[in-house]
Symmetry: C2
Subunit: 282 residues, 2 copies
């Protein structure tokens, strides 16, 4: 069968638009973006709630949905106001990809798509499993996940397959701790029960090159930093060896001393760290 | 972990809205809705084309997409202006379901979601496999189908599983042809090479009760009609036996004789049928 040809004019196309209003908002435990894993572990006991607005008919429209074990959420990347043709995915090498080849928020139409476990329905509230939406995300639609329509386990995953294969392979870099970093890590663990070494080593062993979403940045000519939750590490790279030189609080003193920021994670430990090793590398 | 609680007010929620503009339009061979099968057979040699608008960056945004064997299309149910809490699905028993438990167009936000085979990319044009979008449907977004994120073949399919199981089982009704219907079917096949008996028998054997999207309607006290493409059949039901009494052209004479409708399918055959069996049941 021959491919059909589109006969509309560009001007006609540009006239049409559709305005969406949220049907509800999701409540999650992820207040900030770095808490939202891109692939949340489904065996986590995480519970999220999608509460529909008290609009006429919304609760009735959930009839028959409880029989499905998963739903699709179509939602609003509401923190993104612009789009980019090429984006840097959070996983894999520091290589820009076409935005339509990614799930990035920086799309011409900022629509998100997520399949999530449906654990229960109570009135207008959907009890959901782990997902990567930040707290307060507006949701536009709920559709049943129908495996006969939606599940193609053998579909080719393009560049994501190469990235997953590389991540599953042996680490590319050896990670060593210089004496200062080693003593800081021991002090953090012994005094404050803070230990981000396993995650730090995992990230640096994959690829220590600068990467925005992996929070790896250059600092001066030979040093780099990487953010790990509320903490930072300073490191250098020689060949395939990464040397962690020092650990640092992730927040500056002016934030940590501000009473408005009392809820900052590990605030006390960060203040003590600043006091003990004042600004080693700045 | 305790479920989070939503603290925003209803008034705040209703203020927010998002306006979408199509990134492109799909060209398919389906000019009308009844040609768009709800589950297109993937071994069909059907080819569809999604052509992106010549906006700056759109072509570049397709970089790296060709490696994926499937894409998600997020699109506009542009022929639907209103929504309903309960809808009648095209398959299965005549039973209304909550719209969020279906893929029906009659949603608060008229967004469609379809996974489709990606066969090639030529500039701004995506060559796609079979899909259920009608010609000219506006598309809002393209996302890669990532099996590691999207494929859950063991997910529970709710009420759709019962419907599929019933459809896969033995037929519920026996379908017989009365002498007039039999001679009409033979004449249509011999003279015009028209034969919709297999599809007609299949549909009536499943369930001959009135159903909007299956185009089964009541005609008077004891008769029913069913639409099959450009044709109709008149039938009666007694217990578990359906008797097809007559076949009829699907279009009235005033349409068939109107030169504006020259492209109607089987127009000549329908005119001949009207001439030979003028309005038997009206």
């Amino acid at each position: 069968m021959r491919a059909a040809v589109c006969s509309r004019t560009h001007a006609q196309h540009l006239q049409s638009s559709l305005t969406l209003r949220p049907i509800g908002f999701i409540s999650t435990h992820k207040q900030v973006k770095f808490q939202a894993l891109h692939q949340p572990a489904e065996d986590e006991p995480e519970r999220n709630v999608l509460e529909l607005l008290p609009e006429p008919g919304y609760q009735q429209a959930l009839k028959d949905l409880a029989g499905f074990s998963r739903v699709w959420l179509l939602w609003w990347f509401h923190r993104n106001a612009s789009w980019r043709p090429l984006v840097l995915p959070p996983r894999g090498p520091a290589q820009r990809r076409g935005v339509f080849a990614t799930r990035s928020p920086h799309r011409p139409n900022p629509l998100g798509l997520t399949p999530v476990q449906l654990l229960g329905i109570e009135g207008r509230r959907l009890l959901l499993g782990p997902c990567d939406l930040v707290d307060g995300t507006p949701v536009f639609d709920i559709k049943p996940y129908i495996p006969a329509f939606d599940a193609f386990p053998d579909a080719g995953g393009g560049w994501t397959e190469e990235v997953e294969a590389a991540l599953a392979g042996p680490p590319q870099f050896a990670v060593k701790f210089a004496p200062l970093a080693q003593s800081q890590a021991e002090w953090l663990l012994a005094t404050w029960e803070v230990d981000f070494r396993p995650r730090l080593i995992e990230l640096l062993a994959i690829d220590p090159t600068p990467h925005r979403t992996r929070r790896i940045r250059r600092r001066g000519d030979v040093l780099f930093t990487i953010g790990c939750g509320a903490w930072k590490a300073v490191f250098s790279v020689a060949g395939k060896v990464v040397t962690v030189l020092a650990l640092e609080p992730g927040y500056p003193l002016r934030f940590l001393n501000n009473p408005d920021y009392e809820e900052l994670p590990d605030r006390e430990a960060q203040l003590a760290c600043w006091a003990r090793w004042p600004e080693q590398f700045r």
